[in-house]
């Protein structure tokens, strides 16, 4: 086996590195025998300064800052996913639960505790991914620089240092690194062309547009604008949602959607959000199209630049135009979830507030 012979040299160094990994794991797993078997023991600490392992179930908190300036980063995408498995010995993947949110103005994030597991499964992993255009993504399990095991992630009070993107970095590696969560993929799909160019040996396009807050269009996705907790806070709904993009139209650079499908309930309990990010002129056109296409329209103009309410059978709708940012939003809500039109309008106000927070007009690319 000549190939093996050639690779013998690095064994000692590799082994030493990995032993360090296992020393950490040992410290965090020592109490494993006491935990319920449906949730594996977390390979991360409960807090940065603690020796005890955290919980895969969460909740998770932390702060995202620029690695150079240590300034907080607002509006970064926070993507969390729990991985499930089932079976004995010949085990198989059993799905995942995703949550999407954003950092607040101080760069803080919170991921709520995983409240329920699919029947007959166990939680095998929790992965947190933080991304903002112009920066290298952060994963809770691996480092981008060398793809080595991340040792410093903590369940609470975690600090995420986002490194600014540099032109010499590989988009192909970065796309592998971020994985395929829908919200993440929507935010990073602009890298596909550059990644492909790298593999062709062509030079990716100039990197100036990668600076924080600059670039092509408003990189915000629907999942960042409305969370389960926002809905429940307004409607007092106590059930669960399955979340993900709507199936009628795929997410693109200018369109994004999020469907809150009420578990075990008819669609009159569902909420759906559609967001278009366009230049201001086209946003106006899109808004006008909605006015002509939707039933039961009444113009209200009480959210953002212009707004309307709509109604058809058991569905209530609110649409608005944020003209300076070129954003059009359409929220639809079933009549069991939104008992009154005010519920839908209140959620639209929440969405607009979040847009203003994520895309302040002082940053480039806004209010052209």
């Amino acid at each position: 086996m000549p190939g093996l012979l050639r690779r013998a040299r690095s064994v000692d160094a590799n082994l030493a590195h990995r032993l360090v990994i296992y020393v950490l794991l040992a410290g965090s797993i020592a109490t494993a025998a006491c935990v319920e078997t449906a949730v594996r023991v977390a390979p991360f600490r409960v807090r940065p300064d603690a020796a005890e392992p955290g919980s895969l179930q969460g909740p998770f908190t932390g702060r995202v800052v620029d690695s150079t300036t240590h300034a907080p980063i607002a509006g970064a995408l926070v993507y969390a996913a729990w991985t499930f498995e089932r079976g004995t010995a010949l085990a198989e993947p059993a799905g995942a639960k995703e949550l999407v949110s954003s950092t607040d103005a101080a760069g803080n994030y919170t991921v709520a505790k995983l409240d329920r597991l699919p029947r007959g499964t166990r939680v095998t992993e929790f992965t947190l991914l933080v991304y903002k255009r112009g920066y290298v993504a952060y994963r809770s399990d691996r480092r981008f620089t060398d793809l080595g095991l991340r040792m410093d992630f903590a369940q609470s009070d975690n600090q995420v240092l986002l490194e600014r993107w540099r032109n010499e970095l590989s988009h192909a590696r970065h796309l592998r690194f971020v994985g395929s969560g829908t919200a993440v993929a929507a935010l990073t799909q602009w890298e596909l062309g550059d990644a492909s160019a790298e593999l062709d040996g062509r030079r990716p396009r100039d990197g100036d547009d990668l600076r924080p807050g600059r670039g092509e269009g408003q990189y915000v996705v629907a999942a960042q604008l409305l969370a389960e907790t926002d809905i429940k806070a307004r409607t007092k709904y106590d059930g669960g949602f399955e979340t993900g993009p709507l199936s009628d139209e795929p997410d693109t650079a200018i369109y994004s959607s999020q469907h809150f499908k009420a578990l075990g309930r008819p669609e009159t309990w569902d909420v759906a959000l559609r967001v278009w990010r366009l230049d201001p002129g086209k946003a106006q056109e899109r808004y006008d199209e909605l006015l002509t296409q939707l039933p039961g329209i009444t113009e209200k103009d009480d959210v953002a630049s212009r707004s309307f309410i709509a109604a058809e059978n058991d569905i209530r709708g609110v649409g608005f135009l944020d003209a300076p940012r070129g954003i059009v939003v359409l929220l639809t809500c079933g009549s069991n979830q939104c008992i009154s039109q005010d519920d839908a309008t209140a959620m639209a106000q929440t969405i607009y507030g979040r847009i203003k927070s994520l895309l302040p007009t002082t940053l480039g690319g806004v209010g052209k």
């Binding site: 190939g3 093996l4 012979l5 050639r6 690779r7 013998a8 690095s10 064994v11 590799n14 082994l15 032993l19 990994i21 296992y22 020393v23 794991l25 040992a26 797993i29 020592a30 494993a32 025998a33 935990v35 078997t37 023991v41 996913a81 991985t83 498995e85 079976g87 004995t88 010995a89 010949l90 085990a91 198989e92 993947p93 799905g95 995942a96 995703e98 992965t127 994963r139 691996r142 793809l147 095991l149 192909a172 796309l175 592998r176 690194f177 971020v178 994985g179 395929s180 829908t182 993929a185 596909l192 062309g193 990644a195 492909s196 593999l199 062709d200 993900g244 709507l246 199936s247 795929p250």
Partner: protein, 452 residues
């Protein structure tokens, strides 16, 4: 101390793994193989201009069973399409690598013992009563199809026949949407084949050691699996899986698994490493100590270091290139061999690049068929190394729609066809389906621009 810490960690990590873990190790191996192979260039050449990062779509309504299986995967590992069934070509390949273990019983077809030609056989010995009680005998198949047969059997939904069928359609189908769907399906089959081959990098799978797959790993009674393969997942995950040491080239598909020259992955791993239940047998120490080997290879040195073996922590049996093969120790005058976690980690650092090398080679093998098309009044199609088959030429218009312009049977000559160029169109593409010079099924493809 370090060894204790590591052992404790692994002893207490609740885990279940029946193979290299599908979403971490297998996905990582497939990604490495894709990046090192000719896949990107091949995709570009047949019209998927983004290559590995070309978005390809399988609408969920077209393949509901597939869509349901994909929902079982975790998006963080890069192989879950969006709601419309769209992800990159690389994502579809890694999805195939992960889907090969769904349903879990498919994993029984990822074993092969080159010394007997047998695949998985459910263990009925070397199991503790506790494990047997938990596991029973009804949860897994008694037998599996040997891995090299599984790659080409018609009952494998992700075998070579499926790959070639989808791959050919990915070139010959009329519309870009259809071609996208077929290419994604071909990549799923390719990824699953990489998985089947890659599993044979685990020594227990090629040494008839099915008991090693049922080691209790965690605190729960149902936490059973291969410790070796679990360590790989813990240390490397998906993103940390090393790249290939080289690219393995073989003439026949089966040769990637096993061949007469002993160069298949199963052959190499089986003779180079021990597995937990195929270690040299315990031997009472006397004037001459020659432990009995369960398998002829790996061999033992003429003289074992019994002085070192008498120490509390024993000593290490190493291969000629210094890799830990086992620990051995004399206790109560009996020489015993064992495999600990550090030893397995050393082995993994050697084995995974080799597995990636074989997977890269397999991917290149699947995509090896290449047609050369010259356009000058006539369209001339030629190729090397092909046997008999059928050739179809298609003209693509400016909407990306392809229409057949000629279909003909070919023999073994290098020039396969010469036909008049179509009056309109932007590109001509050709697909050959048949066998290669070695008698292996093959699809060969090519494309060239049409100048009008």
């Amino acid at each position: 101390m370090k060894r204790i810490a590591m052992t404790l960690a692994l002893a207490l990590v609740p885990a279940t793994a029946a193979a290299w873990e599908p979403q971490t190790t297998h996905a990582g191996l497939a990604e490495q193989a894709a990046m090192a192979s000719r896949l990107h260039k091949r995709l570009v050449s047949i019209g998927f201009s983004g290559g590995l990062f070309e978005p390809l779509t399988i609408p969920p309504a077209d393949a509901p069973a597939l869509a349901a299986a994909l929902k079982l995967l975790s998006p963080t590992h890069g192989s879950v399409p969006d709601g419309r069934g769209r992800q990159s070509a690389l994502g579809w390949l890694t999805a195939g690598a992960a889907l090969a273990d769904i349903p879990a019983s498919q994993g029984a077809n990822h074993f092969f013992d080159p010394s007997t030609g047998a695949g998985w056989s459910a263990p009925d010995r070397d199991l503790s009563g506790k494990v047997r009680a938990v596991f029973g005998r009804g949860g897994i198949p008694d037998k599996g199809v040997p891995a090299p047969d599984w790659l080409s059997t018609k009952t494998n939904p992700f075998g070579v026949e499926q790959f070639l069928n989808q791959y050919a359609k990915a070139v010959s189908a009329a519309t870009p949407g259809e071609r996208s769907r077929y290419m994604a399906a071909a990549l799923i089959a390719a990824g699953a084949m990489l998985h089947t081959l890659g599993d044979l990098g685990a020594p227990s799978r090629v040494r008839g050691d099915s008991g090693a797959q049922l080691e209790p790993l965690g605190s729960g009674n149902d936490d059973l699996g291969s410790r070796f393969e679990r360590i790989a997942a813990l240390v490397y995950g998906r993103l940390g899986v090393p790249g290939p040491s080289r690219t393995i080239t073989r003439t026949h598909l089966r040769d990637y698994v096993t061949s007469k020259d002993g160069g298949g992955l199963a052959d190499v791993i089986a003779r180079s490493y021990f597995s937990p239940n195929t270690l040299p047998e315990p031997t009472r120490v006397s004037s001459e100590v020659t432990p009995r080997l369960v398998r002829p290879q790996p061999t033992l040195p003429v003289r074992l270091n019994l002085m070192a073996a008498n120490r509390d922590d024993g000593t290490t049996l190493r291969s000629s290139n210094g890799i830990c093969l086992a620990r051995y120790r004399v206790e109560h005058d009996v020489l015993r061999f064992s495999l600990d976690d550090e030893c397995m980690m050393e082995e993994l650092a050697q084995i995974l690049p080799e597995v990636a090398a074989y997977e890269t080679g397999l991917l290149d093998f699947l995509l090896r068929g290449e047609l050369t098309i010259a356009v000058a009044g006539q369209i001339t199609v030629s190729a090397k190394g092909l046997g008999a088959g059928s050739l179809e030429l298609l003209a693509e218009d400016d909407r990306g729609v392809r229409k057949s312009i000629a279909t003909l049977q070919t023999t073994t000559s290098e020039q396969l066809a010469q036909v008049p160029a179509p009056p309109t169109g932007t590109r001509v593409v050709a697909v050959f389906r048949g066998i290669d010079a070695a008698g292996e099924p093959i699809v060969a493809v090519g494309a060239a621009p049409l100048a009008h």
